[in-house]
Structures are given as C-alpha cells and as structure tokens.
C-alpha cells in the first residue's frame, strides 16, 4: 500500500502513460497490416505486432499501466483522504504554547489590557482576514484558532477520485467487452472482405453487448441493422436491436465548393415499436440519440454510383474504344492482347477541391469536378490504382484530362496529363496516339521529312529505317528508351549530342504527323493553342510509357448514389466520465486557488496585563503564504499597539 500510493510510483506512471501515448501517435494506429508489413519488413513487423504497437491503446501492457494508475491513485486517496478530512474539520484547539513557538514567523507582544480585551483584538484580526474562528479557554487565558481555505483538501480528494472515476468510466466504454468475448472463445475476428450475410455467427456480437462504437455505410434508400467494429487487421459485426434506414443523404456546399455540412434523413425501424418509426435528420455535430444509442453523421462515401465509361485502348490496337457501364464496387474482367485483367471500380467523387496556384502565386481552392478511383489488376494479381477526372481541368492555361496513378497503397499519386482538344475532348489526342502506332503512317512521315531536308539520305533505306525505329521506341518507352538505345551504340562523350540530335529529328517527325492530323480535321492554320497541344501530347506520350495500364478509362457520365457513413455508439461509461470530469475541474481549481491556512492567537494573563502569542502556518510553502503571514502579523501588531502593546519577541523567519 505504501509503495502503491507513493509519489514516486505515481510520477513514473504518469510519465509512462505519456511515453506510451507518444508511440501511439507516432506510429499510425490500426492501419491495414499489409501497410505495416511493407513499412517495417517481416522481422520488425512481427516484433511490433507482438508488442501490440499497431493498437497501443488496447495493448495489455498499456492497459496494465492504466490499471496501475487507477490503483496507485486510489491507494493515494485512501491513504491521505481520512487524515485530510479530519484535518479539515479540526481547528487545532489543542495546540501547545511550545509548538506554536516552534512555528517559524511567530511573534509575541505584551499588552497592558485584560486577557479578554486582548483576546477580542486577536479574534477580530483573524475574522477580518477571513478566517473561521474557534476559541477555547486555557490556563490563565484563551486560545483563538482560525483556519481558512480548508476546502483545498477536498480539492485534493476531488481531483484524485475524479481520475479514478474517469478511468473506470473509460474502461466501461472500452474494447474490454470484445476482449472478454475473445478470451472466452466466443468471438473470432473476420479478416475476409465478404458481404455481411456471409459473416459467420462466431464473428458476430449480439445486441446485448454493453458498449461499442462501430461504423456502417448505408447507401441512400437502404437500411442496415448491423455495424462493423474494426479489430486489429479485421472486423466483427455488431448487431443492433433496430434497423437504420437512410432515406436521403445530402452535402451542402459553400460557394467555393468546399463541403459545408453533411446530413442524412434517417428512419429507425424498431421491432419493439413497429408502428412508430422514428424519423430524424442528423448532421455533423447533431447526432440522434435513440434508446441510449447515439447515431452520428461520421462520414460519407459512395453508395454504388453508376458510371458510363469509355475505355480507350492503349496497348495493341491503340485508339480503339469501347463503351461500358459500371458501378462503384463492381469488378469488371476484360482481356486485351492475350492478357486478362480486372477493372475494380472503387470510388466516385462528385467534387474534388484542390489547392491551385493562381495568378501571382496565390493558392486558391479549385473544384476539379467529378472523379473516379479504380484499380486495374493483372492476371498475376498485381494492381495499380488510378484516379481519373471526368472533365478536363485548366492547368497553366490549357485544359487537360488528369489521371493519377500509384503502384502501391499509400504511395503518393503521380499524374498523367492528357491534353484536351479544341472541343475539350480526348479524341484528338487518342487519334494522334493511334497514328504514332501505325507503322505505315510513320514511314510515310519519315520519308517525306527526309526528302524535304536531306534528299540524299532519303534514298538510303537505313536512314529512314533507323528514324522509324526511334519513333517506335519513343512511343513504346518514351525518351528513356531512346536514351538507353543510344547508350548501347554511342561512345559516352558523344552521348549528349547524339541524344539532342535524335530528339530534334523525333520532334520533327512528330510535328509533321500532328500537322497532318490537323489538316485531316480541317485545321489549316494551327494556333498557338494547337502548338501547345502538340508539346503537351508529346509530354503525355512520354509519360504514358510509365502509366502501366492497357487502357485509358474515361468517365463519360454518372448517376451519383451516395452512402451515409454512420457511427453508432453505446457508451454507458459516458455519464461516469462526465461526472468525473466535473469533479476533476472543481478539484483542480480548488487545489490551485484555495489557500489553506491556520492561525493561532494565544492570550495569557501576566502581571502587566496580557501576553499575546501569534503563529500562522500553511502546508503550502509559497511566497504568497509567507507574505500573507507577514501581513496578518502586522495587522495584529497594529491592533495591539493601538491598545498600548509592544512587541516582546518575534521570530523573523
């Protein structure tokens, strides 16, 4: 008990909780285990997992520290509180002259008046300074004892009891109930991403679970009577005693497109009261409380939006298009060039507010319009993630189709910009790209170019052959492919020059083929905008070499179906925690701002009147307390000297 309630242990525990919490914030908690594995490698992944670092705040060792904190604080209160309570009530009327005299700062006066008169002065002084006063007769005189700020001790008790209450309330609302079930073997965490109907009973928690906090996404027009509780690298299904229907979900926007509020029209279908469904609209910061369950607007997501898509073939017969219909959360298999792929439609976003550097370098928020997120997975199971915007976005003054790509979850997106044409369409770029894949057209362009600038070389098949091969390399692999090829054939010191020459020739060919395309489309006098289009197209083709998708997927239309992300909680500990919080607040301010003090005036009769002994203490040895002590002494002295008294002795400590 002495150890458990000791200050050293308390401080160690306080610091330990703080340090453990640091770990929990530095290492992002409850991420998919795959991410951790990738980050730390198999060895450390395992070590950290064993230590429970992916969910520090539920780790047994962390809970043990908190447990010790509860025990230690309780022990401390149990040890100190009875004494304090006793002391609060006690006026110390039994103080002995000797012990008063040992108090630093005591003082003594001789007053030529009766003990009664002197006692009255002493008493008044204490009362005027805000003391509560008791008086007793002692041999040949009186002892007047005062105290003030005694409630400060209650502040100590409040503060520390509050800590215990808050922690206990927190435990009531914690994962402890799930942990108990798991321990008993009643609960198995589900790790497969299967539909709710296929989740086995041992991964379900009955509605009787005393406390939980779970999430569910409900598409508009649908309902759900279960929640998902994330546990480590999986989840369990929490049953609810009622069904929540989302009638409608709305996002209100500010004029700059930023979301202003999210709200859902809910209807609760409760079998306990089938004829009276409760209907209410909830929004962020305005939950619905129903029979002790609180339903919050936590997030929103896609509820399976329907998309019209156009797949532009990049591999094989480039330029070919196919229109398909899809919906978010759908997987669409397809094959191209003898390879099989799956297109996984993951998400749709109606608004994308992004910071853009506007004129004068000012950062502005701009809405990029609808986008979709999808993955393309090959037969080997490797997938890349893409985010394609539906409409061209004006960047640096010209419209481009944007597609973000990443090879790994969590990696930053890299962006491909495909220039939009005069009609804001992708067609011109795709037609141009297809052209560059057409060997005959390329051959014709190369030949025509050679004839124009170097008729001699035009006669040599090898010259045109090598230029065609270079164009082919560029289209397949970008500038890098040209560079790699040159490295094999050209001595290092000439590499730079050879590369520059090659690029110049390449660009001439590309330019010719572009002018040809424009001419076919009836554009005779290319504008500056058309010229930029060419430059952007070439940049894009160079980037396409790294794009890693056999198709470019363009969204051409959509029907937006949203899902409301609800969080539902049952937290019986909340009231306990709030009560503890009030107690804590009271306690802390009482501790800091009540200044506990005691003072005594002992008056004894002697031959020339009365002798007055004064002493005051506080267990808070602060400067304020010393100053107050000195003030009180001066005040008493002033009164006594008014009655003709003079100091006998004073301890100026």
């Amino acid at each position: 008990m002495a150890f458990l309630g000791s200050m050293n242990l308390a401080i160690i525990l306080l610091v330990a909780v703080a340090l453990a919490s640091v770990i929990g914030t530095v290492l992002q908690q409850n991420q998919p285990y795959g991410d951790y594995l990738m980050k730390f490698g198999p060895f450390w992944f395992e070590v950290f997992r064993t230590l429970g670092l992916y969910d520090v705040y539920s780790a047994p060792w962390f809970l043990a520290i908190l447990g010790f904190l509860v025990i230690s604080t309780s022990a401390c209160v149990i040890r100190n509180a009875p004494g304090m309570l006793r002391e609060m009530r006690d006026y110390r009327l039994h103080a002995q002259e000797k012990s008063l005299r040992s108090i630093p700062g005591h003082a003594e006066w001789q007053v030529p008046v009766s003990v009664e008169a002197a006692a009255i002065e002493g008493r008044r002084t204490l009362l005027e300074s805000g003391f509560n006063v008791r008086e007793t007769r002692v041999a040949e005189g009186y002892l007047i004892a005062g105290r003030k700020g005694a409630l400060q001790r209650l502040g100590y008790i409040f503060t520390h009891v509050a800590i215990v209450i808050i922690l206990v309330g927190g435990v009531l609302d914690s994962r402890i109930w799930l942990a108990l079930r798991e321990l008993k073997g009643d609960l198995v965490v589900e790790t497969r991403p299967v539909p709710v109907s296929q989740v086995p009973p041992e991964s379900r928690v009955p509605a009787s679970n005393p406390s939980f906090r779970g999430n569910v996404n409900i598409p508009e027009g649908q309902q759900s009577s279960v929640l998902f509780l994330n546990v480590r690298d999986g989840y369990v299904v929490q049953e609810l005693p009622f069904a929540i229907e989302v009638k409608d979900f709305r996002i209100e926007h500010y004029i700059n497109g930023q979301p202003k509020s999210y709200e859902s029209d809910l209807v609760i279908h409760d079998p306990a009261s089938p004829n009276k469904p409760v209907a209410q609209t909830i929004s962020v910061n305005h939950p619905l409380i129903y029979k002790g369950y609180a339903i919050y607007q936590a997030s929103f997501g896609d509820g399976g939006s329907k998309l019209a898509l156009r797949a532009w073939q990049l591999l094989g017969q480039s330029g070919a298009v196919q229109d398909i219909q899809g919906a978010i959360f759908q997987d669409i298999p397809f094959s191209l060039g003898g390879q099989r792929y799956t297109l996984e439609l993951n998400d749709f976003r109606l608004f994308n507010i992004n910071p853009v550097e506007g004129e004068g370098g000012k950062v502005e928020q701009k809405n990029f319009g609808p986008s979709m997120v999808f993955r393309i997975r090959d037969a080997a199971g490797q997938a890349r993630e893409y985010e394609n915007y539906m409409n061209p976005v004006v960047m640096d003054g010209r419209p481009v189709f944007i597609s973000g790509m990443r090879e790994q979850v969590g990696a930053p997106m890299r962006y491909l910009y495909l220039p939009a044409d005069r009609d804001n369409r992708l067609d011109t770029f795709m037609a141009y790209y297809a052209r560059l894949h057409d060997p005959e057209r390329v051959a014709r362009a190369v030949q025509a170019m050679l004839e124009e600038i170097n008729p001699e070389a035009a006669k040599l098949p090898a010259a045109s052959e090598s230029i065609r091969a270079m164009v082919g390399r560029f289209v397949e692999g970008g500038y890098d492919a040209i560079g790699t090829d040159l490295e094999k054939r050209v001595p290092a010191e000439q590499l730079q020059q050879a590369f520059e020459t090659s690029v110049r020739v390449l660009q001439t060919v590309l330019g010719r083929m572009y002018v040809e395309l424009l001419a076919e489309r009836g554009i005779e006098a290319p504008t500056e905008q058309d010229e930029r289009f060419l430059a952007d197209a070439v940049t894009a083709i160079n980037a396409l070499a790294l794009y890693g998708s056999p198709i470019y997927l363009q969204m051409t239309g959509f029907e937006h179906i949203q899902a409301s992300g609800l969080q539902v909680t049952k937290s019986p500990g909340k009231a306990v925690v709030y009560f503890g919080s009030v107690l804590l607040t009271l306690g802390v301010f009482m501790l800091f701002y009540l200044h506990p003090r005691r003072a005594w005036v002992l008056v004894r009769e002697n031959e020339s009147g009365a002798r007055v002994l004064f002493a005051t203490t506080s267990h808070r040895k602060t400067i304020d307390m010393q100053q107050a002590a000195a003030q009180l002494r001066e005040r008493l002295e002033l009164r006594l000297s008014g009655a003709g008294g003079h100091p006998l002795a004073a301890d100026h400590a």
Partner: protein, 400 residues
C-alpha cells in the same frame, strides 16, 4: 528560511483587500453589462440557447475581469473603438448588407484609408506583429540600460499590440460575414487565427503578472515566444496565404469550438510564459544567482511565478481537454478516440501533472524545474503545431 526574507521585500502587488473601488469601476460594470445585455435584448430572437449562454458568460467574465484587473478596462475600450472604426468604415461602403463578396471587400480594403492602414483585420494584425516584435527589443533595451521609461514604452507597445491583435480578430469576424453569409464564424477556427489568439493571450497573461510583480525585466523573455509566434504567422501569411478567410469544415461548425479553443490557448499561453520565466531563471542561475543589484527578480520569485503560470495553464488545459472530449462526443461519436491531437493534449497534461506533483509533494524547486518547464514548452509546441505538421488524424485544423 532566512533567504526568503529578501523575497518578501520584493513588492508583490496589492492584496485584494487593499483595493479601493473607483467610480471608473462602477462605470465599467455599467458599460459592460449594459452593452452585453443590450445586445441580448436587441438580438434575442435571432439567438439560440447556446448563443445566449455564451453571450451572458462572455459579458459576465469580461465584467469581472475588468473589475479585478483595471488595465483590461482601457484595453477593452481601445479594442471597442478600433473595431468600431472598422465597422463604421464598412458601414459607409456597404450599408447594412451582411455580405458583399470577396471582390467588393478587397476593393474597399484597398482604397479606404482607415481600413488599408489601420483596422482591416490584415492591417491590424500586421500592426500587432510589428509592435510585439518592437516590444521585444524595447524590453531588452530597458533591461540592459535599466531605464525605467524605456520599460514603460515596452509595456505600452505590448498593450498596443494586444489591442491591435484583438481588433484584428474582431474585424476578421465581420469580414468573414462580408465575404459570404455562410463563411461567417468566430475567428478561432484555423491555425492562422489561433496563432493570433496565442500571441494575444500569452501577452495578456504576461501583462497581468507584470502588474502583479511590478517588474518589466521579464518582458523581453516572454516576448521572445510571442515574436516567434509572430514570425510563424508572417511566414504562414506570406508563404502560404493562410490569412485568407476560409469557411468552416463541418466538424468545426460547433459551439464547443468557441469555448474549447480559447480555453486551450489560455493553457498554451500560460505554459509558454512559464517556460520563458524558466529561461530567465536558468540564465540568472548560471550567472551566479541572486545578487545585490539584480535586474531580474529574485530566483524564488521566478520560481513562484513559474508555478503560478503552470497552475493556471494546467487548470485551463484540464477544462479545455474536457470540453474537447465533449465536443468529440458530439462530432465524432466518442469522447475519446486516441486521435493524435487528443493524445498529445493528454501528454502535455500528464507532463505538467508530474511537474506539479514533484514541486508540491517532493518540494522540488529551482533549476531542474526550470529546465522541465522549458522542455514542457517543446512538448506543448509539438501538441500545438507539430501534430498538425507531422501526424495525421481527425482534427481538421489543417496541415501546413
């Protein structure tokens, strides 16, 4: 205990009993309560229960505050006059329109003399920044030259800066509505706005103790922190354009925010003050401690001030964290989620709880506690700023 005798000769300010009520104090009460309840009477039908509560609470606390700390009265008047000028100028151009759009607002701010150079929120905040930095130098100059009047100038600069800072916040509040009705909010909603709040609150806490302890020699130290905050603010403004008024994200659109955030900043401000007093302590300690002809207050006084500041900060931080938990319960569905910002608030709190325990129960004093207070500021800064920069979580105060 004899060393403490010197300490007691240091003037500690008057005790409340020594106070004499002046007629100005009465006037103050009448004015503040009159204004507060006047607003209540006038706008009662437009306000909901929360708003009425906040208005009454704010009026009563301002009244009490000014009653016990007279300097608040002058400050309030200055802020009221300057904000009044801003409102008047906007009124001249926009009449009683609630919103006019960003363009119209910018145009007026560019051409009106008062707005352009003095009281538009941006100008006021620039004045605040310049004056705080100026005050820092002036305080140190006063410390070196031991010239009383230079010290007085420094204090005046801090008061003026604070008045400008508060005016800047008040006008910004109006400007947010001018940009768009939907944008309107009390400016305590993003990192830019709370940095101003931090500077102002820290300065006020400092000024309070400056009056109580009758010493200006700590001013330079405390103003260093404020100048650092101003430096950040300027960088944030000119490099990131953070001064542009943004609408609230949905989670921040809550009454809790309006009390949670200021309470937090009393905490941060007090901790910052404690740390800078700690720095002063350590410097003095290294230079040989108390002497005959000291510039800085006695070590024991510094130590006591450090304790008072940390106690004040701890109290408010406790309240702020609890309010934060209640808000989280309403916004996210759980009063505690171990979100990084939340967790760091806990870390800060535990750190100072340990500090207080060592001081009060083990009687630790002096250099170790001063060091700890300084380290505490780094912990606090991380909770305040570092979390937003380095850790991701639910808090929507935005990354840099």
């Amino acid at each position: 205990m004899s060393a403490n005798l010197d300490v007691m000769r240091q003037p500690l300010g008057q005790s409340p009993a020594a106070r004499h009520v002046r007629s100005l104090d009465i006037l103050w009460l009448v004015a503040v309560l009159g204004a507060g309840f006047g607003v209540l009477a006038a706008f009662n039908q437009h306000m909901d229960g929360y708003e009425v509560g906040i208005l009454i609470g704010a009026t009563l606390s301002l009244a009490t505050f000014g009653w016990f700390w007279r300097s608040m009265q002058g400050l309030t008047l200055a802020v009221a006059v300057m904000s009044g000028i801003a409102l008047w100028r906007y009124g001249v151009y926009f009449g009683d329109q609630l919103s006019v759009g960003l363009e119209a607002l910018n145009a007026v701010q560019g051409k009106d003399f008062f707005l352009k150079f003095l009281v538009s929120s941006q100008s006021a905040i620039m004045w605040m920044s310049a004056l705080y930095v100026g005050a820092t130098f002036t305080y140190f100059l006063a410390l070196i030259t031991r010239a009383e009047y230079i010290g007085r100038i420094a204090s005046a600069l801090v008061w003026a800066a604070t008045a400008f800072g508060l005016t800047g916040l008040m006008t910004r509040w109006r400007e947010s509505y001018l940009i768009h009705v939907d944008y309107g909010h009390i400016p305590v909603s993003n990192l830019y706005e709370v940095f101003i709040l931090f500077a102002v609150i820290t300065a006020l806490i400092y000024l309070f103790y400056e009056g109580r302890f009758r010493t200006r020699n700590l001013g330079g130290f405390v103003m260093l922190v404020i100048s650092a905050a101003v430096g950040f603010l300027l960088w944030y403004t000119f490099d990131r354009g953070a001064n542009h008024i943004q609408p609230l994200v949905p989670a921040l659109n809550s009454y809790w925010m309006k009390i949670h955030v200021p309470a937090n900043f009393v905490g941060y401000g007090a901790f910052a003050l404690a740390a800078m007093v700690g720095v002063a302590y350590l410097i003095k300690f290294k230079l040989g401690g108390d002497g005959e002809n000291d510039r800085l207050p006695k070590l024991a006084v510094l130590d006591d001030l450090m304790y008072k500041a940390i106690a004040l900060g701890f109290g408010f931080f406790t309240v702020a964290t609890i309010l934060g938990a209640m808000w989280a319960a309403e916004a996210w569905g759980g009063y505690w989620s171990w979100d990084p910002k939340e967790t760091w608030a806990l870390i800060v709190w535990l750190n100072y709880a340990a500090w207080l325990h060592l001081r009060l129960t083990k009687g630790w004093r002096g250099a170790p506690m001063a060091w700890w207070a300084v380290v505490g500021l780094f912990v606090t800064t991380f909770a305040f700023l570092g979390v937003n920069m380095f850790l991701s979580g639910l808090h929507s105060y935005g990354t840099l």
